[in-house]
Assembly symmetry: C2
Homo-oligomer: 359 residues x 2
């Protein structure tokens, strides 16, 4: 087992990465203070891993909430089911919430923990590649609004992250590829060596080679932890983690949450951001081709949906947390391995990408 530290002063916490660690009860014991534990999971993950987690929690009073699976359920209404369970069980401020699942479960579980009685401790047990390499680390929690993704939430750090790499074996192919989109992102924004490594190792990752996957998770978490430690609440460099996300969020919101997986939308959005970076003269045609090629190699979509018009893209992109006083600001690439901070974009260049980029 590897242990990485997210260095946030009084809110620092460890990320445990390893094979079979979901069943190491001492990891739980170290991070649970009170006597009450609520496990939040979903209908896909529960049959696979809920019993294994509950087996480690026999010393506590436990309860379970099983949410429906999918981004379309990441809403205030479904969040309320978690509060219902906490209150029906009369759980207090010292109760611990465990989020066992992918990004949706982690974001909602974390946000419920942030808000219940104005904050209770929580633990992330990410069960998708995307959650292990990205969403479980760094304390971004929240839910979607019909008018914008992740618009309601909190920065709220977990007590620890338990990333059991064995669970990646049960992931379906589409989910595996979606997670790779965020892995590739770290290469693009700040780790050119990792990009080269990924380009070479993608076949092994898709074949679920255990050691290769474990390395990718670890390297991704190291990158994420460094960025978050530098800028917890996204006043600067943390925004670079949003490469491709403004385009991607427009696709997710515009097509209806759940139609595209988050990682799929990010893959397309990153190709669009790369195309726009080329129009700005920051990267070369060759760079853009390399970027499109690596996402294709990861079996990810690279072409925006035909049914989403340029005007719809602009509409949904105008609601984004990076925007300032109504102006769209984007993360673009200065090179493979180097992202810009949020930059205002010339509307004509943005339209050029939205109108002409087709993969």
């Amino acid at each position: 087992m590897k242990t990485l530290e997210v260095d946030l002063g009084g809110r620092s916490y460890p990320i445990y990465i390893g094979s079979g660690i979901l069943s190491q009860s001492e990891l739980y014991g170290q991070h649970i203070k009170g006597s009450e534990v609520l496990v939040v999971t979903n209908e896909t993950v529960a049959p696979l891993y809920l019993d294994a987690v509950l087996d480690q929690l026999k010393a506590y009073k436990t309860a379970t909430v099983i949410l429906p699976d999918g981004e379309q359920h990441k809403s205030l209404a479904v969040l309320n089911k978690i509060f219902d369970a906490l209150l029906i069980n009369k759980f207090g401020r010292r109760a611990t919430l465990i989020a066992l699942g992918g990004g949706v479960v982690g974001d909602m579980g974390g946000f419920a923990a942030a808000c219940y009685q104005r904050g209770i401790p929580f633990i992330q047990i990410p069960t998708t590649l995307l959650a292990q390499v990205d969403s479980s680390v760094g304390g971004k929690t929240g839910v979607n609004h019909p008018l914008g993704k992740n618009m309601i939430g909190a920065f709220y750090q977990p007590q620890c992250v338990i990333a059991d790499t064995d669970v990646l074996a049960t992931l379906d192919d589409r989910q595996l590829s979606a997670g790779l989109a965020e892995v590739i992102k770290y290469g693009l924004i700040r780790d050119a060596d990792f990009f080269v490594w990924l380009d070479y190792n993608l076949p092994a990752l898709l074949a679920r080679d255990k050691q290769t996957l474990a390395f990718a998770v670890e390297r991704s978490c190291i990158n994420k932890a460094q960025v978050v430690a530098e800028d917890e609440t996204e006043s600067g460099v943390r925004a670079t983690l949003n490469l491709g996300h403004t385009f991607g969020h427009a696709i997710e919101t515009g097509m209806g949450y759940g139609e595209y997986l988050h990682g799929e939308a990010v893959a397309i959005g990153t190709c669009q951001a790369a195309d726009l970076s080329r129009h700005k003269g920051w990267i070369t045609d060759d760079d853009v081709e390399k970027i499109i090629a690596i996402f294709k190699k990861a079996r990810l979509p690279v072409v925006p949906p035909d049914s989403l018009s340029v005007e719809q893209f602009l509409q949904f992109m105008s609601v984004d947390k990076k925007n300032v006083d109504g102006d769209i600001r984007l993360i673009l690439l200065k090179a493979i391995g180097e992202a810009s901070l949020p930059v205002g974009v010339d509307q004509n260049l943005l339209r050029l990408t939205l109108e002409t980029y087709k993969g």
Copy 2:
């Protein structure tokens, strides 16, 4: 105008108290950073003060949300109306939210500000006595759940509090008395001199003598600011502000939110807490009589509702943020002017108060 400071390091902020200050545009200008302002108010306050506030905001892009009035609307569902307005107007992270109203508007506006895009700045303009002396200061924000009051929320501090004492002139009598319950609380928990002053000055307060009211607001805010500065997130002394609130919350939740005003429920609950403090041998019969008498003098109810059974009280009191691992813990009085920290209570003593205390 008086300015008090809530001393919370990087989250410190001023409380402005004075006559007519709601119309001092420079107070707004000092605390609004971006170009967008959402004013959240309710249907009772809007006709009285919304225009006066909007008049000070002509330099900004403004929008308004008018919520229904009453504790029964302090819910996740109504909170969503605030998010709707922020998103329909495409307001960004630098937008400022102004909560113009009583405790319900302040708690919901503050919580919406805490969650929108994971946190935007907000300003409190309390328009009830209760909000001026208590709920607008200290950063407790949130909404109710059918199973428990204030169970979903955040600690989130405003940029400033603008307490215009002129607005107390338009308050109805019931709201004025409800505010006095929290004013009396400060005397009981930590300010014996203030208790004596209040006992003498209650007639002037009920007659809305401006200077007397202004002094009561200021002295209350000084007490509140000191307690909050010492213990922002209620790990210790801040819990003393909850004197009478566990009984009171049971009344509010049990009778249906909105049936009793918060201050009314707190008045009854404080008398119950005083009765229980007597059973513990901490205060005298004479103390209890003085406490009941001052609430009566403030035209507040002092007798719990007949229709709420002892078992219902115990049921609702078992869901409380001060409880630990399922045990009810209460703030009690050691003297007039001195509250205890949360203490576990003997079930028999608690039942004795619930069964025998009738005012």
